[in-house]
């Protein structure tokens, strides 16, 4: 019985999306400008993805690629939106941006009233600001630990459950393999550059050690505590031992570069690296698998930073009708399914996790449901418009510790003071 209901709901939503899509072309053929970061094959895949919409509506979509760094994307978007530019119709936005950019986007609550309930409620909630649904989720993201099956098997190791295990296993395999002549092999690669990605990584270490979420949902600053210090100290010990010194300038793509050329035992990365790692030009094709990130310091729940991307319609667009139709198309079940099949992006529509076709083509996706259960949000909701500054202060403190400039205890204490100043009487 529930299956039939679900099927019907899906079908009616698809019909509504199609109707919205089909009503547009009668007006005129518009050229829609869609701006998005470019990681891996994202741009090529997007062109294929929007083909059906272009054919159905007669509109065309021009994608405006942005740098891979989300911090850079945000700066550019903020500038464009503050200037009220009509050049860009749709923005692909990070899950944390909604509170900061809400004023510039069209309220989609009414338009998506059939579509929104199919998504994970927590994700819809993250994109709702003051009762306005400002962006529609198109895929979600949660990182996991990638490991080399072949190397672990060869050295009789199992995928690590704790960071301490990971450190030991990585060191052991790295030493053994280097002794056999693989001088370039490293134990663990992750994202240590001073940018938003380091905030994600460091939040995972701290939360998985049981050290809180930097700023708690109620606005309390919790970052300066024993467990957080222990977590950052553990990581500082990796730089130059199991991780290359250059990891402090790595973003996602640099880490994937080392990993995909077969030079790392473990990697922390988002799901996009799974499909790419199994591509024909990959040196690790078929040799790896993923597990949830480890835990640490005797704590038993792991943590994965909730990422994910959404699409928002600019208030300043002169082609809002076509733009919203494309937004609904991208957020719909059918497109999300195709995205999952080709790119391994995680759907935000709950029912797709039970989809047989997806399970067959991308076996990791159903398993990612477990990762989701342990997802932690970045403190963008409690810190509101100051999130970027909070995040920058946080990643700077961590980066400075990892560079060996001063200890975690000192840096986190200073960070607490800075955040306290910034908070003032309330966020």
């Amino acid at each position: 019985m529930p299956n039939i209901l679900k099927g019907r709901a899906l079908r009616s939503a698809a019909a509504a999306a199609m109707a919205a899509a089909l009503s547009a072309p009668m007006a005129q053929a518009d050229e829609i400008f869609y701006v998005s970061g470019a990681v891996g094959n994202a741009i090529e895949n997007f062109r294929v993805l929007v083909k059906p919409w272009e054919e159905a509506t007669g509109h065309t979509v021009t994608i405006v690629p942005m740098p891979a760094s989300t911090s850079d994307q945000f700066g550019q978007y903020r500038l464009w939106l503050a200037a009220g530019t009509g050049d860009i119709d749709l923005y692909q936005t990070d899950v944390i941006w909604a509170p900061q950019l809400a004023d510039h986007f069209v309220d989609m609550t009414e338009l998506a009233k059939d579509l929104a309930p199919q998504h994970f409620p927590s994700i819809i909630e993250s994109q709702t600001v003051n009762g306005k649904l400002v962006a529609l989720p198109i895929f979600t993201d949660a990182p996991a630990l990638y490991y080399r099956k072949d190397l672990l098997e060869k050295h009789g190791a199992t995928p690590p459950k704790t960071w301490e295990d990971l450190t030991a296993t990585a060191q052991m395999i790295q030493d053994a393999e280097r002794a056999e002549g693989k001088a370039d092999l490293w134990g663990y690669v992750w994202q240590g550059n001073a940018y938003e990605g380091l905030t994600c990584n460091a939040l995972e270490w701290i939360a998985s050690f049981g050290g809180g979420q930097i700023v708690e949902p109620d606005g309390t600053i919790s970052v300066n505590n024993e467990k957080a210090i222990a977590a950052i100290d553990t990581v500082a010990g990796w730089v130059g031992t199991i991780s290359p010194g250059g990891v402090l300038s790595y973003q996602e793509e640099e880490a994937r570069g080392v990993w995909q050329t077969g030079n790392a035992v473990f990697m922390r990365n988002w799901p996009y690296a799974y499909a790419l790692g199994n591509g024909d030009d990959s040196a690790v094709k078929g040799l790896f698998d993923v597990v949830p990130l480890p835990t640490g310091g005797g704590n038993d729940t792991s943590a994965a930073t909730l990422g994910g991307w959404n699409v928002a319609v600019s208030k300043y667009s002169t082609k809002q009708e076509a733009a919203t139709s494309l937004a609904l198309f991208l957020a719909g079940a059918e497109t999300q399914k195709r995205r999952a099949l080709t790119e391994g992006n995680l759907p935000t529509i709950v029912s797709l996790y039970d989809d047989a076709e997806i399970a067959a083509a991308q076996p990791i996706i159903p398993r990612w449901k477990d990762v989701f259960l342990q997802a932690v949000p970045r403190p963008s909701a409690p810190t509101k418009g100051k999130y970027n500054e909070v995040s920058t202060k946080f990643w700077s403190a961590v980066h400075s510790t990892l560079s060996g400039n001063s200890s975690a205890a000192e840096n986190l204490e200073l960070l607490e003071l800075d955040l306290d100043d910034m908070k003032g009487s309330g966020w």
């Binding site: 911090s71 945000f74 700066g75 903020r78 500038l79 503050a82 900061q100 004023d103 370039d184 240590g192 550059n193 001073a194 940018y195 290359p244 010194g245 250059g246 990891v247 402090l248 300038s249 790595y250 640099e254 570069g257 080392v258 050329t261 030079n263 418009g385 100051k386 970027n388 500054e389 920058t392 700077s396 980066h399 400075s400 560079s403 400039n405």
Partner: protein
């Protein structure tokens, strides 16, 4: 014969037509240089944010320095002038500028002396040496970022094979080498520019002076210090000013090449971060204004101390 009683004199007429010829340029300069500058200075005295560009209120010097006394009697200082991150950026910028401009001047002069000599294919070499200068900074920064990459960068590979280093260096990541990496790329990029300006100066020196020196049997090194250097000095001083102005506001190279860490953050980078990323538009404007002031002071000091003649007139 000019009649002073009827109509303007020829001199006045010329001045008037000159004014009309200059007017378009003055208007353009006002629109693209003076107006944005004045507006930035105005913003720095308000509480403007990027989401509300026209609604800022006048708050005086609070963005620069505000002193408040708490009820407990504690005095709190706030503002850019007491922000350690700002002073760190100032120090980074000054260090970068002095080092890069010094190295570039010395190398540029050396390259110019070579190019000033007569040899076959000189025109070709002169054109070729300009290539690094012609490549857009973003492109060269990205290109060098890959060459300096710790794992698959060619620089580490070459040095490792030659036995100069024993393990791969994380050039841009490590705080000790990040600034060195920036300097390497900047010197590579800008030395041609310095060389070109020096070459222009060298070509102004009359050849017969050198001939006279040769006839007198003066050692070439002495000729360089006693003849070439004093005569090329005016051109060199102007070249250094140009480079200094450029170096003090460096942004693109560092932004692309190195992680956004305190080791290499410059004044331009930190003010952009406040302007855009943190939505502290007024605070960022205050830093931009200070950046402008610092550059102005630097250049005036330099002109005054170096007695540089920018009017192009006498010696």
């Amino acid at each position: 014969m000019p009649n002073p009683d009827h109509g303007p004199s020829l001199q006045q007429q010329r001045a008037r037509s000159a004014f009309w010829f200059l007017a378009p340029m003055l208007i353009a300069l006002f629109c693209v240089a003076a107006w944005p500058l004045l507006r930035t200075i105005w913003f720095s005295f308000t509480d403007t944010t990027l989401s509300n560009l026209y609604g800022g209120k006048w708050i005086g010097f609070d963005n620069y320095l505000s002193i408040r006394t708490l009820e407990s009697g504690r005095v709190i200082y706030r503002g850019t002038l007491v922000d350690p991150a700002w002073w760190n950026a100032v120090w980074n910028t000054v260090r970068f500028s002095v080092l890069s401009v010094t190295i570039e001047t010395v190398l540029g002069l050396m390259v110019a002396l070579v190019l000033n000599a007569e040899f076959k294919g000189r025109g070709l070499v002169r054109a070729a040496i300009l290539i690094p200068w012609a490549i857009p900074t973003i492109v060269s920064a990205k290109m060098w970022a890959w060459m300096l990459n710790d794992q698959f960068g060619i620089l580490n590979d070459i040095m490792l094979r030659l036995g100069l280093i024993t393990e791969k260096i994380a050039w841009t990541a490590s705080t000790e080498t990040a600034m060195t990496a920036v300097l390497i790329v900047d010197v590579w990029k800008t030395t041609p520019f310095m060389a070109l300006l020096c070459l222009a100066g060298l070509q102004m020196i009359p050849r017969d002076i050198y001939e006279a020196a040769r006839v007198d049997g003066i050692h070439p090194v002495k000729v360089f210090f006693k003849v070439t250097l004093p005569l090329v000095r005016p051109a060199l001083m102007v070249a250094v000013i140009f480079r200094m102005l450029d170096a003090l506001r460096i942004f693109d190279l560092i932004y692309v090449l190195t992680p956004n860490s305190a080791a290499t953050k410059t004044m331009s980078i930190i003010s952009r971060e406040n302007l855009i990323d943190f939505d502290k538009f007024a605070y960022g404007s205050a830093q931009s204004t200070l950046l402008f002031a610092i550059i102005a002071i630097f250049v005036s000091l330099y002109i005054w101390l170096g007695k540089v003649d920018l009017s192009g007139g006498g010696k």
